[in-house]
């Protein structure tokens, strides 16, 4: 076997691999993206704007720390330190009503095995308007009893399963199930990463109501070595949750987190019902909007972003933060993520009105 001595070769090799990485990264920016309806293609002007923003932030944040801008603290865990930042933005938390969820279940006779659209219409004409009316029906009573029981116990898993069996993922009744979750058990989730497939997670954003206000929390990976403790901290945070609300989280965020947990050989199953707003948004805005990218939807519901960078540039900003040891670009990423979370709340509110309330 030939033994290769370390030589002057490494320096040149490393430079080449770095160049290749940069080149491929740029190519990927311009390539049509997977989940193309969610990630926007990058325009030249957006790119330039983002760079100006980055330079401004680099100047303003030189020599400062994240804790100069945010409230937060560093916890020491057995896997390493975790920085969490928090704030309570002036936005009302989303409080779903249980009655709404119940009303949806009750009016949907098609949840019963054996009842299709035609039978439902016939039954309604015969005076069976809600499931309760069928409680003493010789044929359906048994099934109705089980559903009512699940409603009583707020058994989201059973209800979810039932709904998923008969209705498409974008059906309003699927969203209405959120009514069965206590507001403080609903966690809004959005992550930032270095790539789309197998790269590192660099920021995890969470939002949930606490004492009547919305609490936005960020778990920050200050260097890659902190990804593992941050993931463990996330698992702990999720213990409080009974449901997740995400945007494209079924395909991306939750999958991605599970892949990273697996990478670190941690228990990787996130078994929470995930209310992914993307399909509902498509159903609601399909007619009126050209696409359902987050920023398009934001415009439609009049959300303004103050500091913004395109999602596609997050990895570049993070690398710049690491290289320059200056939190400026990281602040931009945190603000971007924060806005994503707030938009999630606002979009949910809109969808709740448009799809869930109107459908009653």
């Amino acid at each position: 076997m030939i033994h290769k001595m370390p030589g002057r070769g490494w320096e040149e090799l490393v430079r080449r691999v770095q160049e290749e990485t940069a080149r491929r990264y740029r190519e990927n920016l311009l390539r049509p993206r997977p989940f193309h309806s969610v990630w926007a293609p990058l325009t030249v002007s957006a790119y330039e704007e983002a760079h100006q923003l980055k330079n401004t932030l680099l100047q303003e944040c030189a020599g400062r720390s994240l804790l100069d801008f945010y409230s937060g603290e560093v916890h020491t865990t057995e896997y390493g330190p975790v920085l969490s930042l928090w704030e309570t933005p002036p936005i009302k938390p989303f409080i779903p009503e249980r009655e709404v969820g119940e009303a949806w279940i009750m009016q949907t006779l098609r949840l019963l095995h054996g009842i299709g659209k035609a039978t439902e219409a016939r039954l309604k004409l015969s005076g069976y308007v809600t499931l309760r009316d069928l409680l003493f029906h010789p044929r359906w009573a048994w099934q109705v009893e089980r559903i009512l029981e699940a409603v009583e116990r707020r058994d989201l898993h059973t209800l979810n399963h039932l709904v998923a069996r008969w209705f498409p993922v974008s059906h309003p009744i699927a969203l209405a199930l959120l009514g069965f979750v206590k507001p403080e058990e609903i966690v809004f989730l959005d992550i930032e990463t270095l790539g789309l497939y197998t790269e590192a997670v660099i920021l995890i954003g969470l939002a949930y109501p606490q004492n009547g206000v919305l609490l936005v929390k960020h778990l920050v990976v200050r260097e890659i070595a902190e990804e593992l403790p941050v993931l463990v901290a996330l698992l702990k945070e999720l213990q409080r949750a009974k449901a997740l609300v995400t945007y494209n989280g079924r395909a991306f965020d939750v999958n991605f987190i599970q892949a990273r947990l697996r990478y670190y050989d941690l228990p990787h199953k996130i078994d929470l019902p995930n209310f992914d707003l993307l399909p509902f948004t498509r159903r609601c805005f399909r007619e009126s909007l050209p696409n359902c990218r987050l920023e398009t939807v934001e415009k439609a519901i009049s959300v303004e972003r103050t500091i913004n960078i395109p999602s596609a540039l997050v990895p570049e900003f993070y690398m710049e933060y690491l290289r320059e040891k200056n939190v400026g670009p990281l602040v931009a990423i945190i603000e971007h993520n924060r806005q994503d979370l707030l938009s999630l709340v606002l979009i949910l509110r809109k969808l709740w009105e448009e799809l869930v309330m109107r459908g009653l």
């Binding site: 076997m1 030939i2 033994h3 290769k4 001595m5 370390p6 030589g7 002057r8 070769g9 490494w10 040149e12 090799l13 490393v14 080449r16 691999v17 770095q18 290749e20 990485t21 491929r24 990264y25 990927n28 896997y79 390493g80 270095l194 790539g195 497939y197 197998t198 790269e199 590192a200 260097e223 890659i224 070595a225 990804e227 593992l228 892949a259 697996r262 990478y263 670190y264 050989d265 990895p315 570049e316 690398m319 690491l322 290289r323």
Partner: protein, 743 residues
């Protein structure tokens, strides 16, 4: 001899001009059957009895070792039944253990299709289904989840495996139960590709360990000289070797054909005529060509001579459906002749053909036997034509035909410690799981690689190991065939014709280059290296182009040096700067003109062997010195592939009356892969044999002042000037003798 009449017929053709220089008939061989019964699963045993299959000795030995749980390397000739030898025990084990799975790796996509059919036939015979499936880039996405969930035998290629490894969790069932990894055509894993695959297999082993699987590795290949060494380097564990062949062989007649004895008819025209003659005699004929271009040209010419018959070209780069259709056509006899690159040399089953034409020395003795083995499977007599080209090795073998049939097979050389390859593969591994110190050992990585990885910023050091920290998937940074992964798209009217790597594009897709694709010529108008596109137009031209390459070589560091009097021979690291300086337009071997190019040079560090010559020798050679050095360089490069499994373009050279690093007249022969894959080491270990063969090449070449068969190189950037064949022969003989002369 079985083909006497046919050959008599051939020499009486009006176009025959005495080109047959030698005819040998190798006798057939009776089979050697195994005596003992093996402990196969009853279903497999029953199948063998029903079909009346008796195992040959090597098959039984291989099966026995596999059933005993060993890593096994079967290296016996083509058509000796290697596939059955490993399929039987694998099937047997998979039938006994209802969860067990097996992974079959083939170096080329084209091979998997054929092997799948073989497996399915075997299954049908045994009466069980293990759902063998192909899973690679051609697998439609809608069937992928089903295959992942159900297949118990999976056939794929290293390129696909490389892409899928990061998604191992989707394969959890398959990986957890993996009992066998079958690596067929293992001799194909040499050089850069082989070194990459060796590390890819270590990545696979590391992931499998996570799933608690520790499969047996089964390797199969054509006969190579170093199966123990190659097997162990490839899989990182010792292997038990099976090499005695018990299969019968039919009589084989080799006819050596020197096309240069007929100066009126071009090489390709003669091969096409030969092919047309054989097909006309009712022999289905396979002709091997040494390049894609040649395959296309020969197929077109042969077809033109045979109206009413079908002659096709076959090569990698065709769409899978096209290839399948051609393979089927050959099997079913609808296609009467096929001209192929070495794509058909490996186990693609096109059935037994009646005759094979080797259209030029394929680059290795291993390939000679693989290609010849395509003719007449089983005990049937077969006919093989060896048509030499003008290249030095071709001519060497036309002058020593017995050598071609008796030379030992080459060593397969890989170097999994090659810095750039190791570095990139480690990035991929870090993308799959954090890399621990123990993992680094598995990859044979020294501390300095870890250091370089950390320094690159592409991985981060964490308490659990090195974590990938890049912004693009690590697997995108690795091309198993290449050290740089920059590729150039060949575009016609905005549509991609094919892709080639950066360095190759500089040589073959420079402005003005003529590209051939499926018999159609394209002219390159523009090579945009920044965008990675070569823009071509369709244009019918009747000439071809050849790049002229200039290079400079500096010596960085000696690893070993030997002195013989005032002669100094060294092995070490060199820095090579190469540039495609110009290209030559040629028609039928005649130069039409030379056009200058201005392309960026390529610089890389690699390993080489140098000869620093004594000053007094320079005095003796006088004005011939530069020409002698130049000729010696070309001869040494030309003959180098005789000693290690490699081709002529894997080596480059420089000669100069004064080299600044050696302060002497010098000849330097180096590898053309950055950091080297071990070829220079191999040459340094056979110095004397190498020099003698080079001297012999020149001394026995009948030409006066040098020809393309000895000292003239088609790619020489200095257009073979200055050149002295006699000086070179004298110099090489002197060098060979200096080595054995007592100091």
């Amino acid at each position: 001899m079985a083909f006497e009449e046919l050959l008599r017929d051939l020499v009486s053709q009006d176009w025959y001009a005495g080109q047959i220089v030698a005819t040998f008939t190798l006798p057939g061989k009776a089979p050697n059957y195994a005596e003992s019964r093996l402990s196969f699963h009853p279903a497999v045993q029953g199948f063998l009895e029903r079909q009346g299959i008796r195992l040959f000795t090597h098959q039984a030995k291989a099966a026995e070792l596999i059933l005993a749980g060993e890593h096994v390397f079967i290296t016996t000739p083509t058509a000796s039944g290697k596939t059955l030898a490993f399929n039987l025990p694998v099937l047997s084990r998979l039938l006994a253990d209802k969860e067990a799975t097996a992974l079959y790796l083939y170096p080329l996509k084209a091979l998997t299709q054929d092997q799948l059919l073989k497996l399915r036939e075997l299954e049908a015979g045994v009466g069980f289904s293990l759902r063998p499936e192909i899973y690679d880039g051609d697998t439609p996405s809608e069937v992928r989840p089903r295959i992942r969930a159900q297949a118990r035998i999976l056939l794929t290629n290293p390129y696909a495996l490389h892409q899928y490894l990061p998604w191992h969790h989707k394969w959890a069932r398959f990986l957890r139960n993996l009992r066998f990894v079958v690596i067929d055509e293992a001799h194909h894993y040499r050089g850069v590709f082989g070194s990459h695959v060796a590390l890819l297999l270590r990545r696979l082993r590391r992931i499998l360990a996570r799933y608690g699987a520790k499969p047996q590795f089964i390797l199969a290949s054509a006969t190579i000289a170093n199966p123990e060494e190659h097997g162990e380097r490839l899989i990182g564990q010792p292997v038990a070797v099976v090499k005695e062949d018990g299969a019968p062989r039919g009589e084989k007649t080799f006819v050596f054909w020197n096309p240069f004895l007929d100066t009126n008819t071009s090489w390709s025209n003669q091969v096409a005529s030969l092919m047309a003659f054989l097909i006309g005699e009712g022999l289905q004929t396979l002709c091997f060509a040494t390049s894609r271009r040649l395959a296309e040209v020969l197929a077109t010419q042969a077809q033109a001579k045979l109206p009413g018959k079908r002659v096709m070209a076959y090569r990698a780069g065709y769409l899978p459906e096209e290839r399948r259709a051609i393979e089927r056509g050959i099997r079913e006899g609808e296609i009467h002749g096929v001209v192929s690159t070495n794509a058909l040399e490996l186990g693609v089953d096109v059935g037994g053909l009646d005759a094979v034409i080797l259209g030029g020395y394929p680059g290795s003795i291993i390939s000679v036997w693989q290609q010849a083995g395509r003719a007449g499977r089983g005990p049937k007599p077969a006919l093989v034509f060896v048509v030499g080209q003008g290249d030095p090795l071709d001519q060497y073998f036309l002058r020593h035909p017995e050598e071609l049939l008796t030379r030992p097979h080459e060593h397969a050389i890989i170097n999994p410690k090659n810095g750039p390859i190791l570095f990139r593969q480690l990035l991929c591994a870090a993308g799959e799981f954090p890399l621990t110190t123990k993992d680094l050992e598995l990859f044979g990585a020294e501390g300095d690689v870890a250091h370089a990885l950390l320094g690159s910023g592409l991985v981060a050091g964490t308490p659990v190991g090195l974590v990938y920290a890049g912004t693009v998937p690590a697997v995108e940074l690795v091309n198993l065939n290449n050290l740089s992964d920059r590729t150039i798209r060949i575009e016609v009217d905005g549509e991609t014709l094919e892709t080639m790597d950066y360095e190759r594009a500089l040589r073959e897709a420079h402005p003005g280059a003529v590209l051939l694709h499926q018999g159609t010529t394209y002219l390159v108008r523009e090579l945009d290296l920044g965008e990675g596109v070569a823009r071509c137009v369709w244009e019918e031209v009747d000439y071809y182009t050849e790049p002229l390459i200039c290079e400079d070589v500096r010596i960085l560091r000696a690893l070993e040096e030997r002195r013989y009097g005032n002669l100094q021979v060294g092995l070490g690291e060199v820095r090579v700067t190469q540039a495609v300086r110009a290209y030559r337009m040629r028609r039928a071997g005649v130069t039409l003109g030379v056009e200058e190019l201005s392309l960026p040079p390529v610089e890389f560090d690699t390993e080489g062997v140098w000869f620093a010559l004594p000053r007094e020798l320079a005095r003796d050679l006088g004005p011939d010195l530069a020409g002698a050095l130049h000729g010696a360089e070309h001869a040494l490069v030309a003959i180098a592939p005789l000693h290690a499994l490699a081709d002529r373009w894997d080596f480059g050279g420089l000669s100069t009356p004064f080299h600044p690093d050696l302060t002497a007249p010098a000849v330097i022969i180096h590898e053309t892969f950055p950091n080297g894959v071990g070829l220079a080491h191999k040459l340094f270990s056979v110095l004397e044999e190498w020099l003698k063969a080079a001297a012999d090449l020149l001394e026995t070449c009948p030409c006066q002042d040098g020809c393309p068969s000895c000292v003239l190189s088609p790619r020489c950037g200095n257009e073979n000037e200055p050149m002295s064949k006699n000086g070179a022969a004298q110099l090489l003989r002197y060098l060979a003798e200096s080595l054995v002369r007592p100091r």
